[in-house]
């Protein structure tokens, strides 16, 4: 169906508004701090084939690959098996998902027996069971990391709200009220999206809405391709490494070869190190999301609506058995560190042809910090995700003390933590002077957070990267400072670490310091 210029723009805008409203409602009705405050959740509208049409601009990592996540659901459950009230749910890293805490829910939107598309949300859940209270840093296979939900179809009336699926799931996680509450927020956001899409179909007709969906993807593809075409043709290689493999101090390296040929890009990761025994592997969906996020941020204007149309202009070569496309059952809870090196390696490769569009290396690490406690028969879990300083660009200093670019989470206000968690307190939260690399433009600063533990038997799980290897500057800019964590016990400060799992007691203190970004351009003396 051919739409006129106004209809096409109006329906496209409504589709994007629908995804944005879903995202907003998801945070506002969520229960855990990680969703309601840190906003580690995302929403999108998919078409009837599962292609991404529109998404809320939330967590870049979540979205670039949602089309890959729904595909196994649709393959496992043909259309004729669907009943009213069915939704799809999955968190399986080896069947299109990312890591186990990221649970996807897809709600079909059906108008007059016609499948229009799906309302989709993903949230990072605060707890997902598994072999440890908090992330299991010693896991050597996926099963030790938590409950696996394969691509599954459940019926909300029959299986949820006290039904068998919810009961089974609830029994396998440690803080069910928060996790189930957040899943309910996802279901609610999806039903908002479902009703908005249905209303659009009633207003403009289902055919018009479907045409607008496909037009919107074509539109993004056109803009993405014209941005690629504006860059010079050529092939560039680069690499970046994570500090270690999780069990030894050996760095592990992502290698990339980026080829721009007219309006297409080939991103080839041949030569990247093999999959790891630890949880630092990134499943394929995560790798692709990280790579697309980098390409979009370097090449395009911020107002380009991201969707599956963009991905049509990119071809990926990601060898199997590497740490960025591992085989089952490699664990992958801490996938983000290597995803950031994917991001950094592509950014470095593009620095040669597009020096004014890239930024220097930032701290670019996920600092996962969790303080948990078993109090009687009930668990309390506090999980936060931190970043540090951004790399500087040719036009500006790097941003200070924010989450790293792929996750885009907000921080949880100290006041919220105080209300929620009685077993620790935050004594200091400040910028870390001197942590940004000097340059014509300075790298962003990391920050310091100082905690005091108020009860015995508090479990701390901490992992990060860029503890040994600092981010590199561009065009003579200096490196940023690495980050880490110090434990202060009985007045003595223990040597800093980049990863830690252990039990804390009353009076222990933690000094967490995150790294700064690198500078851009040779600094004047």
């Amino acid at each position: 169906m051919k739409l006129d210029a106004a209809e096409r723009a109006i329906i496209a805008d409504a589709l994007i508004a629908c995804a944005r409203e879903m995202g907003e409602k998801l945070f506002r009705s969520a229960f855990s701090t990680v969703v309601r405050e840190a906003r580690d959740a995302s929403a999108s509208v998919l078409d009837a084939q599962g292609a991404i049409v529109a998404q809320a601009d939330l967590i870049p990592m979540h979205l670039g690959s949602m089309d890959r996540t729904i595909r196994p659901c649709l393959e496992a459950f043909p259309r004729e098996t669907w009943e009213p009230g069915d939704v799809f749910i999955t968190n399986h890293p080896y069947q299109g998902g990312q890591h186990l805490p990221d649970i996807f829910i897809f709600t079909p939107v059906i108008v007059d027996d016609q499948l229009i598309g799906f309302a989709a949300t993903i949230a990072h859940h605060i707890e997902i069971g598994g072999g440890a209270l908090g992330p299991n840093m010693f896991a050597t296979d996926l099963h030790q990391e938590g409950v696996i939900i394969p691509p599954t179809k459940i019926n909300l009336a029959r299986d949820w709200n006290g039904g068998p699926f919810e009961r089974l799931f609830r029994a396998n996680i440690r803080v069910p009220d928060q996790v189930i509450g957040d899943l309910n927020a996802q279901i609610a956001a999806n039903s908002v999206g479902e009703s908005r899409l249905a209303a659009l179909c009633r207003k403009y007709g289902a055919d018009a809405v479907k045409s607008a969906m496909s037009d919107l993807m074509d539109y993004s593809e056109r803009r993405f391709r014209s941005a690629i075409a504006a860059a010079p043709n050529g092939t560039w290689t680069a690499e970046d490494s994570i500090d270690d493999d999780g069990f030894t101090d050996e760095p592990r390296t992502v290698r990339v070869r980026v080829t721009i040929a007219d309006d297409e890009i080939v991103v080839d990761f041949t030569g990247t190190d093999a999959q790891l025994r630890s949880n630092l592997n990134a499943p394929l969906s995560s790798t692709i999301s990280a790579a697309l996020s980098c390409l979009k941020s370097v090449l395009t204007e911020p107002d380009l609506p991201f969707n599956s149309g963009c991905a049509r202009a990119v071809r990926f070569v990601v060898p199997e058995g590497t740490m960025i496309n591992p085989h089952y059952p490699a664990p992958n809870r801490a996938r983000m560190e290597v995803c950031y090196r994917v991001f950094n390696a592509i950014m470095r490769a593009l620095a040669a042809p597009l020096p004014d569009r890239v930024i220097a290396g930032g701290y670019d690490s996920t600092v996962s910090f969790s303080l948990s406690r078993l109090d009687g028969d009930s668990f309390r879990v506090c999980m936060e995700v931190f970043g540090g300083g951004y790399g500087a660009s040719s036009t500006a200093d790097g941003c200070d003390a924010v989450d790293s670019p792929l996750s885009n989470c907000a921080n949880t206000p100290v006041e919220s933590l105080d209300m929620e968690y009685p077993y620790f307190q935050v004594c200091e939260y400040s910028l870390r002077d001197g942590s940004g690399g000097e340059g014509i433009h300075r790298g962003g600063l990391g920050f310091v957070r100082h905690y005091r533990i108020l009860n015995d038997d508090v479990q701390l799980v901490f992992y990060s990267d860029r503890f040994r290897n600092a981010p590199e500057g561009l065009r003579g800019g200096l490196s940023g400072q690495p980050g880490g964590l110090e434990l202060i016990r009985s007045g003595a400060t223990l040597p800093p670490v980049g990863k830690y799992t252990g039990t804390l007691r009353t009076g222990d203190e933690i000094r967490l310091f995150t790294g700064g970004g690198a500078g851009f351009g040779t600094p004047s003396s």
Partner: protein, 439 residues
């Protein structure tokens, strides 16, 4: 004037200057509300279309919605203010084809200088105002502000490249541009109505500002609204608001109260304290009432971070069950879903708004004028030209209902009543536009 729509004497505002942050837009809402309330409209959505942007606000039973979540220059503002949503769609909004081939209107604006191409001040880019000229919703011989002639040839020249790019006539390109601007306004209204569980069909659309009356009928149609009201002397609505606003103070306190059998007594106690504080504050300004009060509880499921406001109309009849039922109903309205089971509910804040009514009683009505004879006009809509009856504002008779298409030209704005809608001017000089039942 405060951002919350209430006035305070200088002595009061001096101690709390932040309360005046958005006094201008708030005055517009209050002015429009007061003028159309004379005609009996108290559930309204206001639409103020200016040169660079449009402001919309929802008013329930004479009370503009308030918000405490606002940012200015990245800094949070937590004093209660009228919840006005702004979108970059105004008369000066530039119409363009972006690099992906999509038609867009705004948020870039030609401003007042050079302004739209038809201003003849050197503007070359097509704007929403130029589109209105081309499709005739602004009549070709109109003088802006009564004095400034407009250059329709310049408007047509500015739209030439767009018409060519989309392979349409000039008129169709102009009409498409207005549809995009309308849609941006519709989105702004949805953000503050449907997204909060309010149905726009329960409201009248009150349009003012230079462009409001031009867009009103189609915006209303897109939202299923069937009544549009143009307040008399729409150009001076904000000044009027400053004159007639009530005197208002707010009190809010964070009180974490678990919803159980003891909750109603505790709420009554907290509200009693708030009432006393507010009366003391008014007394310090030498105001002694009589006062009216509105009571609001901020409620949530325990563990959430955002509250839902729940009004307390009947304080004496307040019970645990009543509160729970009201909260769940409000929750479902916003989220379309209520978690089952027995998730505990809590009250996080107790708020009271106290007002002393303004004693000024000023009407904005125009003097009675004998009915004049309309001249013929024409407007391009839905791919064809429509003949219209073109009246000067004062010359449209009072009390007569006439079918569209009609255009009313005023010094500061132009009203377009499309086919399928009717127009009546009531005894308060407000123009009432209604959707005619489909035959």
């Amino acid at each position: 004037m405060q951002s919350n729509g209430g006035r305070l004497p200088a002595i009061g505002i001096r101690r709390n200057a932040i309360a005046a942050l958005f006094s201008g837009p708030a005055a517009g809402v209050v002015g429009a509300l007061n003028q159309v309330a004379r005609s009996g409209f108290c559930d309204i959505i206001t639409l103020d279309v200016g040169g660079t942007s449009s402001d919309v606000c929802v008013v329930d039973a004479g009370q503009p919605m308030l918000t405490r979540e606002f940012k200015i220059d990245g800094l949070p503002v937590r004093t209660p203010m009228i919840r006005i949503v702004t979108t970059g769609a105004g008369g000066g909004s530039i119409v363009r084809q972006d690099e992906g081939g999509m038609l867009r209107a705004g948020p870039q604006s030609a401003g007042a200088d050079p302004g739209p191409a038809c201003y003849g001040r050197g503007g070359r880019q097509p704007t929403v105002t130029d589109a209105h000229m081309i499709r005739g919703t602004i009549p070709p011989d109109v003088k802006l502000g009564g004095t400034m002639p407009l250059d329709i040839d310049a408007a047509r020249a500015a739209f030439g490249p767009l018409a060519k790019a989309f392979a349409t006539s000039l008129e169709e390109a102009a009409d498409n541009a207005i549809r995009i601007a309308d849609s941006n306004i519709v989105r702004a209204i949805e953000i503050t109505s449907t997204e909060l569980g309010k149905d726009p069909r329960d409201y009248a659309l009150v349009a003012f500002g230079g462009g409001g009356p031009l867009h009103a009928a189609r915006v209303a149609d897109a939202l299923g609204m069937t009544t549009v009201v143009i307040p008399a002397n729409a150009g001076i609505i904000s000044a009027y608001g400053l004159l007639v606003a009530d005197f208002t103070l707010h009190d809010s306190a964070t009180r974490r109260i678990r919803l159980d059998a003891d909750a109603p007594a505790e709420i009554r106690r907290c509200l009693g304290e708030a009432r006393q504080r507010l009366r003391d504050e008014f007394a310090a300004m030498r105001m002694t009432g009589p006062f009216s009060e509105i009571r609001t509880l901020e409620m949530r499921f325990r563990g959430q971070a955002y509250d839902i406001p729940v009004g307390v109309a009947d304080l004496d009849g307040l019970t645990e069950d009543r509160l729970r039922a009201d909260f769940l109903a409000a929750y479902r309205q916003v989220y379309y879903y209520v978690p089952s089971g027995d998730t505990p509910i809590e009250i996080m804040g107790v708020g009271m708004t106290m007002s002393q009514l303004s004693r000024e009683d000023v009407a904005l009505g125009a003097a009675d004028v004998a009915a004049g004879t309309p001249s013929p006009g024409r407007v391009f809509e839905n791919r064809r030209w429509h003949d219209t009856q073109l009246y000067r504002q004062g010359t449209f008779p009072v009390g007569v209902e006439m079918p569209g298409p009609i255009q009313i030209e005023d010094v500061t704005s132009t009203l377009f009543v499309p086919e399928g809608w009717s127009l009546r001017r009531d005894e308060h000089a407000n123009l009432i536009v209604r959707k005619v039942e489909a035959s």
